[in-house]
Amino acid sequence: MTANTHELTPETLTELLERIAREDSAALRELYDVAAPKLFGLALRILSKHEWAEEVLQDSFVNIWRFAGDYRRGLSAPMTWMSAIVRNRALDHLRRVNTQETEWSDALDDLVATGDPDPEALSAVSLQARLLDGCMQQLEPAQRQAVALAYLRDQSHSEIAETLTVPLGTVKSWIRRGLAKLKSCLGGVQ
């Protein structure tokens, strides 16, 4: 099936969010059609459990409906704005269920592709995400994993050390070096 990704352009998404801010329910459906798979993927990565991720996705779209009026173009790309909502809901959920479960190692492999990025998949994300992806690829795999676990799963140094079964000091230096490398790769924020 040919994935037509042009609906995920920031322009289209911004227009949809503006319509949603005017309480246009059809626009929410359109937004759901184009953005839900991406956002669900994110929720699933953070939560691992299907039911939890679906609950969070549902919550997130209710929030998107309520807060679309607060979205400011220029401040962040629409996909980034929505991803932040999903991530926050997911982390909140994770804290509430207070889980120590980690079915994460497989997910890490395809989290930030170590192989060729799928050009079609990447065209669906914002320019900033593509730049970040390029820079994440330049990190050592271990650094990349540690940074991704910290950011996406909101794990502490010691939780990451446990997940990756390495000493705490190693995790700290992976993250520091990873972040430093990211900064020199990404440069200043535009």
């Binding site: 059609d33 980034t80 994300v125 900033q128 970040l132």
Partner: protein, 266 residues
């Protein structure tokens, strides 16, 4: 401590703050400084902006259809939508007990099949004749890279005429089992909303609809049948979907606009 004398330290603390590993008292202190110091605040915001797009790099996955239904319920769209539907003219034969399709009517196979019965046996005979006259002109010259010679002679094994809701025939599908392809001919007006795609579905005698692919927007052209076999389907249907097709692999996500029985030619 005057943090401004240690810009690299500030930057690293801001980075650890944004990535989430700066915790407890250290996190609260940096937050406090950031609230009172524009340089530290900017450093924090820059790091947040650098890392935020990471959430987008996660591969997409399909949520189940129940998620959207739950969202609709929570936001009260369901009642609003049926009220709006009630206002739409014309209400057809108000005396007849018109069964409004269930909210998730596209999940309801009986609804699909009931609709497909519209094609009568007589129509089917007319159809076979029509197929013979239409096929040599097949897909338009630009719509397939293969020439007619390369394709070999098309052998139509099954056909379906898909009607719209007003029972007007709009689409003819000729299934060539030998070449695993379907040729589509537009018979009537096909109106596709901008930025939408038409998805062709096979409706089996039992079980959920199976996607047969995305149709050309014009309604004319070829769709590859791949491993799909026409014997497995009692009817075909077309739904309006987001580009790339229904996010639900087991059925349409958008309205079903055309449907018709799939009949063997011989």
């Amino acid at each position: 401590m005057n943090l401004h004398r240690y810009p690299q330290l500030v930057d690293m603390l801001a980075a650890e703050y944004a990535v989430g590993t700066l915790r407890g008292g250290a996190r609260r202190r940096l937050q406090f400084y950031a609230e009172h110091d524009v340089v530290i605040r900017r450093s924090l915001e820059e790091w947040q902006q650098r890392l935020e797009p990471m959430a987008e790099l996660v591969p997409a996955r399909m949520p189940s259809a129940a998620v959207w239904e739950a969202i609709e319920q929570r936001l009260g769209f369901v009642s609003a939508r049926s009220a709006a539907a009630g206002q739409q003219p014309p209400p057809p034969v108000p005396s007849a007990p018109v069964a409004r399709p269930a909210r998730n009517w596209f999940d309801n196979l009986a609804f699909w099949r009931g609709w497909a019965i519209g094609v009568t046996a007589l129509a089917a005979i007319a159809l076979v004749v029509a197929v013979r006259s239409l096929l040599p002109f097949g897909a338009g010259p630009s719509e397939s890279s293969q020439t007619v010679a390369e394709q070999g002679e098309a052998v139509v094994s099954h056909v379906a005429v898909l009607n719209n809701k007003d029972a007007q025939p709009v689409l003819l599908v000729a299934w060539d089992e030998a070449h695993s392809s379907m040729t589509l001919h537009r018979l009537g007006n096909v109106q596709l909303p901008p930025d939408r795609a038409m998805q062709l579905w096979g409706i089996p005698a039992s079980g959920h609809p199976v996607s047969l692919g995305i149709m050309p927007n014009s309604g004319n052209g070829k769709v590859t049948a791949g491993q799909q076999r026409p014997e497995n389907y009692a009817a075909l249907a077309v739904s309006i979907e987001p580009p790339g097709g229904s996010p639900n692999p087991d059925g349409p996500s958008g309205p079903v606009v055309f449907s018709g029985k799939l009949l063997p030619v011989s």
